[in-house]
Structures are given as structure tokens and as C-alpha cells.
């Protein structure tokens, strides 16, 4: 039983790669046949060759590491604060009345509009990128955590009280698990915003990272490196989403939505 299930899963895993691989094949063939000029879009093999060269020089790994670090740290700061405030405002009416309307006001400012101000404040230091990523990630996590806590079934909370749960136990056993599906929606949405913000921030104001690498390459008309940078962003984004999905499936194994998916596969 488990062996057949893992075979099915492996097949399922391959299906999602069929389309990207197909597109890359078409692209390579198009480049070889001369339909796609190299100045517009270099062939995949050229991109791989450029990547290999940068890899040997150590530049690629360094830039990926820098971008990855910025993403993770910015996400941890923004997500952490968003989660904490979402909990506070979801649990306490008073905190909600104090903070929520202000936060909702700030939420309506596109955080990328702050780039000029952020450059004035922080220059093009690490702090500027971390600030922007943290700000971008904050809101989806905040809003979804708060909503998740609020929408926990009040009948379950009542049940917990009748069975003498302390506020702490009630939180760990009833409120937090009940809010988790919504928190995960915020997490995955936040991860998307995280990469988006980082790309923009690194492209405009940075002296390292994948975005910086792409802008440098543009100056020297190295189209293959530009395309490589874009592909790396795509892969990192996909990686982050996959990690979130695995976590989600682990934590929400009880949820009928995930049971059905497992059953179908």
C-alpha cells in the first residue's frame, strides 16, 4: 500500500514539471532554429552556461545567499510582528479597537511606494531591503491571523470552557489550531509578496543579490545573466511555496480538504 502510494505521488510530482520542461524544450528548439534572436532571449543552454560560469566564479552562490538571507530575515521580522499583532487583535477587543483601524490605514499604502523614503532613511543598506520585505509580509500575515482567530467556532470555545480549560489550554488546544488554516493562507500569500518586494528592492537599490546581478548584467548587455536571474527568482519562489505546502499538509492533516487530496492521489 505505501509503495503504490509513493509511486502515485512520484507520478503526480512529475506531472507538474511537464509544462515547464515542455516550454524550455520549445524555447531551445526555437533558439537553435533561429526564430528567437539571442539578443532578445538567449537559448536555455546559453543561460545554463552563463550560470555555470558564475557558479565557478563564486558570484552566483554569494548573490543567491544574500537574497535568500534578506528574504528569510525580512519575512521572519514582518511575519513575526504580523502574527503577534494578529493574535493580539484577534483575541482582545481592546487591542483591536486601539490598533486595527490605524493598521488598516497603513495597509492601503502600497509598500513599494515607500521606496524613495526608505532610500532616504536607510540608504541602500541591508536595512532598507529588510524593512521593505518585512512591511510587505506583515499585512497578509496580520490580516489572516486576525481573521483566523476571530472565525474559530464559538461552540468549540464554549465546549472548552465547560471542560474547564484554562485560557492557556484553550488557546493551544482550540483557538490556535482553529486559526491555523487561515494563518497558512496568510503565510503563502506573504511568501509571494516577500519575493516580489525583494526583486523590486534589489533592482532599484542594492549592491549585491540576484536583483543587483541582473541590473549589472543589463549594463553590460549580458541577456543570459538577466534571464538566469529571473529563473532563479522563479525557482526560489517555487521552493518557498513548496515548503509552505508541506508544512500546511503536516499541520492541517485533520482538515477534510487535505484528507480528500490524499485520498485522490
Amino acid at each position: 500500500m505505501p509503495s503504490s502510494k509513493s509511486t502515485v505521488n512520484r507520478l503526480d510530482g512529475l506531472t507538474q514539471w511537464a509544462l515547464p520542461l515542455g516550454i524550455i524544450t520549445l524555447w531551445e528548439v526555437g533558439s537553435l532554429a533561429g526564430f528567437i534572436p539571442g539578443r532578445v532571449l538567449p537559448a536555455p543552454t546559453d543561460v545554463i552556461a552563463a550560470g555555470w560560469k558564475l557558479l565557478l566564479g563564486g558570484e552566483l552562490v554569494r548573490n543567491i545567499w544574500v537574497s535568500f538571507w534578506r528574504a528569510i530575515v525580512g519575512f521572519a521580522i514582518g511575519g513575526g510582528i504580523g502574527f503577534a499583532l494578529g493574535l493580539a487583535n484577534g483575541l482582545s477587543r481592546r487591542a483591536d479597537r486601539l490598533l486595527d483601524s490605524t493598521l488598516q490605514m497603513v495597509r492601503n499604502i502600497p509598500h513599494l511606494a515607500l521606496i524613495p523614503l526608505v532610500i532616504l532613511w536607510f540608504g541602500i543598506d541591508e536595512a532598507a531591503k529588510l524593512f521593505l520585505v518585512a512591511l510587505g509580509v506583515f499585512f497578509p500575515i496580520y490580516v489572516n491571523t486576525q481573521h483566523g482567530i476571530r472565525s474559530v467556532d464559538p461552540q468549540l470555545i464554549e465546549m472548552g470552557r465547560i471542560y474547564g480549560m484554562s485560557p492557556w489550554t484553550l488557546f493551544w488546544r482550540v483557538i490556535l489550531p482553529g486559526a491555523l488554516p487561515s494563518v497558512f493562507v496568510g503565510l503563502r500569500y506573504g511568501l509571494g509578496i516577500m519575493w516580489l518586494t525583494l526583486i523590486v528592492a534589489e533592482t532599484i537599490a542594492a549592491s549585491s543579490g540576484i536583483g543587483y546581478m541582473a541590473m549589472q548584467a543589463r549594463e553590460f548587455l549580458l541577456v543570459d545573466v538577466v534571464v538566469l536571474s529571473i529563473l532563479i527568482y522563479a525557482l526560489l519562489g517555487k521552493l518557498a511555496d513548496s515548503v509552505a505546502r508541506v508544512l500546511e499538509r503536516r499541520c492541517l492533516a485533520w482538515h477534510p480538504a487535505f484528507q480528500n487530496r490524499r485520498g485522490e492521489a
Binding site: R161, I162, G164, P177, G178, L252, W254, H255, Q259
Partner: protein, 275 residues
């Protein structure tokens, strides 16, 4: 499923002999002049009642007559506007073990079946024999083999049996039922009624059952209270031998009498929702 439930019933009839003494554990309920209003709407207008320890009382009435409110007051979910109630002689040490079972199972979807039963142990959840006790109670309701599953895969009747196990695991002194079988199909209901009766006989707690179903009230209770206009309108004894049969003819006359009472009132009232 019903076969399993019947086996569970057998398990309880074995328990019965040894644990009937546990009824010493049960508490009487005394209610004096209990009133409850929501805003300007008076739901309960002075309930006076004494329920001896270990008695099985059914409360029937039209919807909105306040029977569920009475239950919520007794388990401390709402505060009375006036009047008071107490368990035992009122001088009991610590909070009495009062549990309630709702129409909805209210299981934690993210806890296994066994985990849900353990919720019933409260702070005792961390004690060494917690798992053993929870498993024992789960066995008594015939669901021991489903212990590791998520509640979402159980049927309605099975979920209610888990909820029952959760209420029973801490050996309650008073157990309140708020239409616990209301959402179940007729066959599952009959099996569940038998299960409830056996468990009550075995554990000896004081039981208060709020129900729409007069047949169910007569099938299970020692005493049927009819509530009208926020007061106890009728207080009837049901002296039928136990364990009772679902289709006992002796109960039919009593049932008919209660139904007639309810329907007569329904004609004068605006709401004729009687099952």
C-alpha cells in the same frame, strides 16, 4: 455500526453491578425561583424544582419555552437574572462535576477521537492513567478501534458517541443533555437511547435531558417535566421497569397525555413546533 453499539451496551450491563454504588457520587439539584430574561424578553419566570441524586429527568416543551436556557444556567454557561440553584446540599467542596452534551458533537476537528475524549479529563489529562481511562470510556461507547482517526471521518451517531465518551470520562455527578440525539436518524437514535440508558444505570449520575421528542422522554426518564411559559406546567412520574424497550406499550398512554398537553398549548400559542 449498530452491532458495535449493542456490544458497547453489553459492556455496560456488565459494569452495572459493580458500579451501581457509584451513584453515591451523584448530586441532587435544587432550584429556587430561577428567572432568566434576555433584554425585555422573559424566558424563565420562576422555576422551582428538586431533582434527587441519580434521577433521570426529561424536560419537554415547545421550542423557545426556555428548556435549553434552563440547562445552560445549570451548567454555568449563563447567569440567572434571579433565583438560585445548587447541587447536593450546596456545601460541596470545589466545583461539582457537571457536564453537558449538546445537539452538535462539538469535537475538536484537529484532535484524534481519543484526544477528544481526553479533553473531558480536564486538568487530569496529564495524569498517568489518563490515556487508559479515555480508552476505557471509548471502548464503552463502542469506538475503541477508531481511536486514532480524525472526527471528520465519523458518522453523526459516532461523533455523538465520542462526545458522550468525553462527557463520561471524568465520572460526572450531573450530566445535562441538550437534545443530544436531535440530529440523528431514527435507527441511530434508538441505539443511542439504549446506550444512554445503560450508561446512566451503570454510572448513576443525575441526568437532565432536554428534548423535543416526547417518546424519547418517556423512554428514558424517571420523570418528565413539561415547561410552558417559562414555568414547570406538569411534573409527571414515569414508573416503567428498566431497561425499557423502545416500543413499550405501557409508555404509550403517558406519551399521548403529554403530547395532548403540549398540543393544546400549541393551539393557543403562535408556535406549534412540536415533534
Amino acid at each position: 455500526m449498530s452491532a458495535k453499539a449493542l456490544r458497547a451496551v453489553d459492556a455496560f450491563s456488565e459494569l452495572r453491578v459493580e458500579t451501581r454504588a457509584a451513584s453515591v457520587n451523584a448530586l441532587s439539584i435544587t432550584i429556587r425561583g430561577l428567572c432568566k430574561s434576555f433584554g425585555r424578553r422573559e424566558v424563565l419566570r420562576g422555576i422551582d424544582l428538586h431533582v434527587p441524586a441519580g434521577q433521570f429527568v426529561a424536560v419537554v416543551g415547545r421550542s423557545g419555552c426556555g428548556k435549553s436556557t434552563l440547562l445552560r444556567l445549570l451548567v454555568g454557561l449563563d447567569q440567572p437574572t434571579q433565583g438560585q440553584y445548587w447541587f447536593g446540599d450546596g456545601a460541596g467542596k470545589g466545583a461539582p462535576a457537571v457536564r453537558i452534551m449538546f445537539q452538535e458533537p462539538r469535537l475538536l476537528p484537529w484532535a484524534s477521537v481519543l484526544g477528544n475524549v481526553e479533553v473531558g479529563l480536564g486538568a487530569g489529562r496529564r495524569s498517568a492513567d489518563a490515556r487508559e481511562r479515555a480508552l476505557g470510556t471509548l471502548r464503552a461507547v463502542g469506538l475503541a478501534d477508531r481511536r486514532g482517526e480524525w472526527p471528520s471521518v465519523l458518522s453523526g451517531g459516532q461523533k455523538q458517541r465520542v462526545a458522550l465518551a468525553r462527557a463520561l470520562v471524568s465520572n460526572p455527578q450531573v450530566l445535562a443533555f441538550d437534545e443530544p440525539l436531535g440530529a440523528l436518524d431514527a435507527l441511530t437514535r434508538i441505539t443511542m437511547q439504549a446506550l444512554l440508558e445503560r450508561i446512566w444505570l451503570a454510572q448513576g449520575f443525575t441526568a437532565i435531558l432536554v428534548t423535543h421528542d416526547v417518546a424519547e422522554a418517556v423512554r428514558l426518564a424517571d420523570r418528565v417535566l413539561v415547561i410552558e411559559d417559562g414555568r414547570v406546567a406538569h411534573d409527571l412520574r414515569v414508573d416503567l421497569p428498566r431497561p425499557r424497550e423502545a416500543s413499550a406499550a405501557a409508555g404509550a398512554e403517558l406519551q399521548g397525555g403529554i403530547l395532548r398537553d403540549l398540543l393544546r398549548d400549541a393551539e393557543t400559542g403562535d408556535d406549534a413546533d412540536v415533534s
